[in-house]
Structures are given as structure tokens and as C-alpha cells.
Subunit: 316 residues, 2 copies
Amino acid sequence: MGETYDSTTFEETLREKQSEIEALLRMALPKEEDFQKTVLEAMNYSILVGGKRLRPMLMQETYRIFSQKESDRALIQFMLALEMIHTYSLVHDDLPAMDNDMLRRGQPTTHAKYGEAMAILAGDGLLNLAYETACGAFEMMPYRGDSGFFVERHQRIAKALAVLSRKAGVYGMIGGQVVDVECEKKGDEVTPEQLDFIYRLKTGALLEAAMVIGAQLGGATEAEVTLVESVATKIGLAFQIQDDILDVEGDEQVLGKPIGSDEKNQKSTYVAHYGMDAAKAKVEELTESALGQLYRLPRHNMFLEDLLKSLVHRQK
Amino acid sequence: MGETYDSTTFEETLREKQSEIEALLRMALPKEEDFQKTVLEAMNYSILVGGKRLRPMLMQETYRIFSQKESDRALIQFMLALEMIHTYSLVHDDLPAMDNDMLRRGQPTTHAKYGEAMAILAGDGLLNLAYETACGAFEMMPYRGDSGFFVERHQRIAKALAVLSRKAGVYGMIGGQVVDVECEKKGDEVTPEQLDFIYRLKTGALLEAAMVIGAQLGGATEAEVTLVESVATKIGLAFQIQDDILDVEGDEQVLGKPIGSDEKNQKSTYVAHYGMDAAKAKVEELTESALGQLYRLPRHNMFLEDLLKSLVHRQK
């Protein structure tokens, strides 16, 4: 895929790609100036405090399956937008009225550092900036008299915007958050259908957005986009179930947090519903099926395969 | 402008237009079903609980200055999107960490009725839905082989999206909210520049978005769009100053709320800074200047003129 890659260097390549994405983010973030300085600081803090940059990375790696190019300027706008949406959702999730978390990745959460009002506004600001940034993709593709090229590129970007807003909204991530909030501390009362809904949307929806938009902007056919979406859905679900597994039998040293919190909080999980063996088997089944679908795409991206495997087999 | 209108029927026409916009909103709002039902209810409640529908109305009336048509499907998507953005901003503004209001228009605010977590998510959901709705404008203009038409329409919609996200974000409405929050209870310490910043952005930015997008989608030239934006800026500022005036010498019976709250809350206002006479003169000066600019546009829209006048000369 352009750069040299063999899987023995996975961790190193991963870090390089994270740094590249962070450099893009730093360039795109608002300058902390003018009267509204505080909210701009709070937004930049929330984004730069850390993160695996998984979603923009998945988008770019999926794009590379379909495109001859490594990336393009419209793609970069969407990569940045998706990371902003992910970040806003964490800022609002951490609020006192939601999860009430004071620390994230060992650092003060946005409301802990800037106060609750500013955290609400910083989240709102990031969500808006995400759309402003994604809309910037159109400006990267101005009309230069070649209407065929213009029509094709504009249609791709418009479709990508539609996917982004759908997957981030009440039929995507927010939908999952809502049901998660409502099912809190309800343990056994939560139905398998509700659990599936939360798992599919709360984390899965943005992973789907990442891979689908990467495919769309890379020029995938509709059938290929459907295949890519199915890969993302399965990986998202496997990722969530692995989360449940680690909360029961993870290594506290490796995880960097105590295990058993789901049981303590009477959280309904896949493990609690179906048992540990079934949960592990499900992770394997979903992963194999997703990787099998990935092989049916026109080109292989070995790094992407390793990245997906690392997500579902992670120990922390 | 298509329908019959003379200014003696202003109030009646206003109510008719409000009902038309509400009918469009009702059709566009999400069905209250599936697992995330509660947030959909909270979103619909927030929008349908009331409102003058001023922003979509301004957008449509400005469009009618430039277009031969009364409206088009792309315009309607943006009208709905703007009202959703306005509504989300009220839902988040009313939160305990912000203004902590339990009533709005005599009805329970969203967090009073659905709880704080659901109000945060409903606001987020409305903001996302606004962009999803605005992006829907592209689908209303599919490519049918006429690339000239496609290029022109797509460019207009892309520009309208850029304006919407800019004016709603940290360089628009949210920027104004942030400085407003920070200047609270600071009275005399607030500088005229800060006050101007708040007034220009907190209410003004969305009024600008309304009129600019209406002009763009109606096919205005760039010079005409600039003129329209200037009209909106002036009316927005006059509207805010009138607010300050009414809080000092309004009729409590007509207003439906006690006057004097700005002084009590040590709020920095235009009246406090410059005195009542200067404030009143400023409202007149801004209104005359705005209406003068409006006359330079290709067609007159008498209802729009009356609407703008009613905003700055309102008694409640």
C-alpha cells in the first residue's frame, strides 16, 4: 500500500500513522484567540489530550483499498471531522449528568478542567466544527470546467456527508448512547435486543462511518460499500464483546483499571447474557467472518487487517 | 410575491406562514419509535412546544426576493435544519449548568421534563439531525444528465452548508454564547467590544444564516448576498438592543414577565453602557439603514419589510 509494511512492524507503523493524523489535527484545530478563546482552548484540549485516532485511521486505510492515491484533501477533511465527532461524544459522555467522569486517559476530563458550561459548549462547538470541516471537502473540489469530474466528486462527498450525519445521530451513535443511559443499572431486565442495539450503535456506528466513508471517497462501488459496512459492523460488535470479556478476566496491570466494574454497576453485558465461552466464540466468529469479507475486496491492505485483528484481540 | 399581501393583514399572514412552517416541521420530525424512542420524543417536544419560526421564515422570505419560485425542496431542508439548530441551542442553554431555566414559553424546558442526560442527548440529536436534514438537500437535486444545472445547484447547496455550519459554530452562535457565559454578572467590567461580540453572534449569527442561505439558494449574486448579510447583522443588533430597552421600560403585562432582570443580574447591556436615548437612537439608525439596503435588492418583499420592522419595534 505505498509504504513498506510487514506485520512485525505493526506497532511501529501504528504509532507513525497516529502521529501523522495528530499532525493533521494540529494543523486543522482553531487558533486559540479572540473573545471566545476559552471554548477554543477547551475544544483543542479535548482533542489533543490523547486517543488512538482509530476512526480516521480506519477511514484512510479503507480508502487505500480502493484508491490509487494514499489520500486526498477531501478524505482528510472527513478524517478530521470524524475524530471531532468522536471527541465531542466523549466530552458530553463525561459530563456530571451522564457518566460523571473526572479522568480520561489519566488526564482531567473537559468539564473537570473547564467547568460544566464550557464542556457543554465545547462539545457543541466540536460537533459543529466537524460538519464545517467535512463541508470543507467541497471547497477542495472546485469546479474547473470538467463537469464529469465535478459531478462524480461532488456526489461522493455529498454521500459521505449523508453517512456521517446519519451514523453520528439518533439513528447511529446518539441512539446507542440513549438506550445505554436508559438501561443503566437495569442488569437482567435488559433484553438481548436492547443489548444488541446499544452494541451495534454506540461504538459500531462511528466505525461503520469511518470505513464506509473511506470506501466511498476511494471510489468503491455500492456493492463494495455494503461489504465494507458489514465488516465494520462485525468488528464493532466484536470490539464491544471483547470489552466485556476484559472486564471479567483482563489483567488489571495491563488494563490500567480495576476489573469487575460491569458486575458492580449491574451492567448488562454480552458475557452476563450468554456466558464467557459463548462470548469468546462470538468474537472469533465475527472476526473471521469480517476478515473473510475483507478478502473479497479488490486489493489487500495488510496493515488494515492487522489493525482490525488488534482491535478484537486487544488485552487493554 | 405570489400570495396577496397588504400590511393591514400582517398579523394574519404571519400566523399563516408560521402554521405552514410548523406543518413542514411536523412532517420532517422523526417518528417516535424503536429503542431510542425517548430521545426522539424529547427532540420533538423541544421543537413543537412553540416558537415564532422566525429563522425559517426569514430564510424563505429572503429566497423569494431572488427566486421566481415560492420555495424549493432544497430550501425547505435548510429551513428545517435552521429551526432544529435554533431549538438545540435553547435546549442546551436551559440546562442547569447554563441558564438553569425550568420554564420556556410557559412550558417545562426539555431537561425539566426529560431529565438532564436526555436533554443533553436531545440537543446533540437535534444538531446532528439539522445537518442530516440540510445534507438531504443534495438528494433533492439528483444528477439527471444536465451537468450545468447540477453544478450550479450543487455549488449553491454546498455554499449554504458552509454558511450554516460557520454561523452556528464557535465563530458564530456558540462563540457568542461562550462570551455571554463568561461575562455573566460582570456588569461594568464587560467592555463595549465584548458586548458587541455577544450581540453580533449570539442572536445575530443565526439571523444572518437565515437570510444569507435564503439569498444563496434563491440565486443571488455574491454582491447581493453581502448586502443581505449586512441587513441581517443590523436587524440582529437592533433586535438585541430592543431587548435591553424592554427590560427597562417595557410593560410587564404585555411582556408577560417582570422587567428589571438585567439590572438585578448585573448584566451588561447596551442601555447600561450608552444610556436609554442612545440605545433608542441606535435601534432607529440600524433599522433605517437595514431597510435602505433592502430597497437596493432586485425585488421588494413587503411582508419581509414588515417582519423586520416588527422585530425591532416589538413591545414583547
